[in-house]
Subunit: 157 residues, 2 copies
């Protein structure tokens, strides 16, 4: 079960993945971003960022190249991807409540709440469907992300 | 941050609270339900159920009476309450992502995603607004709940 005292949350995995695509979406052409620099900029643990990057590559949203001149890039598909689509792909599904936890909920076989919650989650995703990665980094978010990039050590104007 | 490998979830607190109102909604007139029997029926820890009951009483959805003949009841307001309203009241708010975690997200001051996620959560709640506690326990859930009640020891037909 999730912790007490907080509201509903995306998983940390989805949260980090979304931060990464937003950061990559404002990368300047000459920037060489790596998983390590992106993790630092976004204040997330490197190991978590690396897992998220691997999944984003699987989904065709991010490309990586190793070695000199290597790094991370958002693909064209990644730039135009729907946030609703990304969140659907990253949230592994399952139930919004602990229906199948151990012990499972005794009501699960005939629960109307379960269906209602699944429909509510669909409404949540649908609300994010029209929003693209690109649109999230339009002003004011974009300039803030670029400034963060400069704090990584590149202080050229 | 929430655990990896699961999808978005309601909090355990909300989950348990919803199970409790559903169980109380199908209580027979002569039934004397207590927090302990309800917790057992719903396979949730007693201490969690007790916290949820206290909050449901605060919200005017549940009434309790101590001593002989005491127990738990759903109020009229509780029976007609909207699931959307209950979930809004129980989920403590905050952000859907770790915007203000320690360390906070560096993008939080100018994040379009944060607003988009807040709007998506509102769509989630709105989807649950038309659903009442009463409607959730209509067939098929109601009879299952009643059978569970009988498993508590009351085997009269």
């Amino acid at each position: 079960m999730t912790a007490y005292g907080e509201g509903m949350r995306l998983t940390a995995f989805t949260d980090i993945s979304l931060r990464i695509v937003m950061r990559l979406a404002v990368a300047r052409d000459e920037e060489l971003l790596t998983t390590r620099t992106v993790a630092q900029t976004l204040a997330v643990p490197y190991s978590h960022a690396a897992k998220a990057v691997a999944r984003l590559v699987e989904l065709g949203l991010v490309e990586t190249r190793r070695g000199r001149g290597g790094g991370l890039w958002l693909t064209g598909a990644g730039r135009n991807a729907s946030i609703g689509g990304i969140v659907r792909a990253l949230e592994s599904g399952g139930d919004l409540a602990g229906c199948e936890d151990d012990p499972p909920c005794p009501l699960r076989a005939a629960c109307r709440l379960r269906t209602a919650l699944a429909e509510a989650r669909e409404a949540f995703f649908a609300s994010l469907d029209p929003i693209t990665v690109e649109s999230l980094v339009a002003s004011p978010t974009g300039p803030v992300l670029v400034l963060l990039g400069r704090e990584e050590g590149d202080l050229r104007p």
